[in-house]
Symmetry: C2
Subunit: 247 residues, 2 copies
């Protein structure tokens, strides 16, 4: 069970959740993708539209079962959309157990090889639920300075929370929006690999306009450009993940 | 008074707040920049570091005066950092007047031609405070599909809140991370200009690595590359703003 997490905005969480979920399914795995962002980008990127959507909001706010809210979006991929009320869960406080609700819901769930949770750009109650529900974090790091800054802050927060709540996760880092000609991108990559040897996926995801275009058609990169560089990068990432791990 | 606002992550709010604040000061205006994001990116981008920072958190949580927390960071630019406790204001609820606190604090403030507030990637209590405190919104829109989606959602939220609380703001849109060779970027620009004629700044901010590099040195683009394209773009944006507006 994997949470795609980084409180910094726009680093490629949703793009990674979308394309990695589909890549794993194309390799024969059964995947459940959960959109945990009230902004619903993952849901829209899969081509699911409409303002009356029910999803993980019902699970977290009303105790519905995850299995009830999941439905197929691609061969091998089920999705639980964010749902229109998910903001309420982020805003309201309802007791000490509120942070464990997703974990408990996931305990009832069977039939998937991978569960992939897309998180919002915040370190609030939703992200906390994701953190406590999974065993592994996939942390996208965009190839620029503010992204590294955001990473430092994220790791501080994780260290505190995990210590206090006695919860541990394996952390993986994936470089996103990578442009090899930029010295800044290469420096970010070197820093990441030196601080976290063995935890950084060897495939950086390159900056490619197709990865920005596909959500506009409600498509993953595999629907949109199966033989392109974007598909290659996410296919490579999926394979590293399945081999348990960063090469 | 201007809030740089968009709940979508990574669209260039902080980059715009940083460089526009400095550009206006270079044109002779007195500017107060307020970092309203608990992640403190604007503060770090100006070169202010350290974990024991006090700032607008003290104003919103303890009622300190804005003037007390502001200090000079460049000629003509004062900054109020986010402060390390700003997360608490976002998480806690303390009554119906909580959304008006920044507005009331700003009523006591004098001596500036422009106040520029950098918002977090969320539509929560901090962003609400910014919205109700200012007369104008500067909404950065990155040149990709998910950014347009985020804009649609933002406008829906704004319409509801402004109607319910009888508050009005002028809305300006600035295209960011613009790459003119990408058809996607041109399409986003055309859509924006057709939906909001007269409200879209004619200067898009181009995708330029220098704009991503300068924060790593605690510098604005004017400190980092005074004669470069990034400085030209933000100088042009400042001039359009001062002329009251999108040409
Ligand atoms: N490798 C890439 N190449 C080109 N564009 C990309 C790439 N990765 C992401 N993008 C685009 O950059 C923007 C930000 O990416 P994305 O929305 O996936 O980030 P995020 O971390 O989920 O953002 P948020 O914090 O708002 O949830 C999107 O418009 C996306 O299409
Ligand atoms: N025009 C540009 N050219 C190149 N890089 C840019 C440009 N604008 C912003 N960036 C870079 O893109 C990243 C995201 O920009 P920025 O942090 O300003 O967005 P934001 O909307 O404030 O993000 P958040 O939602 O996390 O607060 C940063 O690393 C920034 O340096
Ligand atoms: Mg996202
Ligand atoms: Mg920012």
């Amino acid at each position: 069970m994997i949470a795609v997490m980084n409180q910094k905005g726009g680093v490629g969480k949703t793009t990674t959740a979308l394309n990695l979920a589909h890549a794993l399914a194309l390799e024969g795995r059964r995947v459940l993708a959960i959109d945990l962002d009230p902004q619903g980008n993952l849901t829209a990127s899969f081509g699911i539209t409409g303002h009356q959507i029910h999803g993980v909001d019902r699970v977290l706010l009303e105790g519905r079962a995850l299995a009830e809210m999941a439905f197929p979006v691609r061969e091998g991929v089920h999705l639980i959309p964010a749902g229109q009320w998910l903001d309420r869960f982020e805003q309201e406080r309802s007791g000490a157990q509120q942070a464990w609700r997703l974990r408990r819901a996931l305990e009832e769930l069977e039939g998937y090889d991978y569960v992939m949770v897309d998180c919002p750009p915040a370190a609030g109650m939703l992200t906390m639920n994701a953190l406590l529900a999974v065993e592994e974090l996939m942390i996208p790091v965009a190839s620029d300075y503010l992204s590294l800054q955001g990473l430092a802050r994220l790791l501080r927060i994780l260290r505190q929370v995990e210590k206090r709540l006695q919860h541990e996760t394996r952390k993986w880092f994936v470089l996103t929006r990578f442009q090899k000609r930029r010295r800044l991108a290469r420096e970010v990559r070197e820093k990441l690999e030196s601080y976290f040897p063995g935890q950084v996926f060897s495939t950086p995801v390159r900056e490619l306009v197709a990865l920005a275009e596909s959500p506009g058609f409600g498509q993953s990169i595999f629907d949109y450009q199966f033989r392109g560089a974007g598909a290659d990068d996410y296919r490579g990432l999926a394979r590293e993940l399945m081999e348990g791990r960063a090469a």
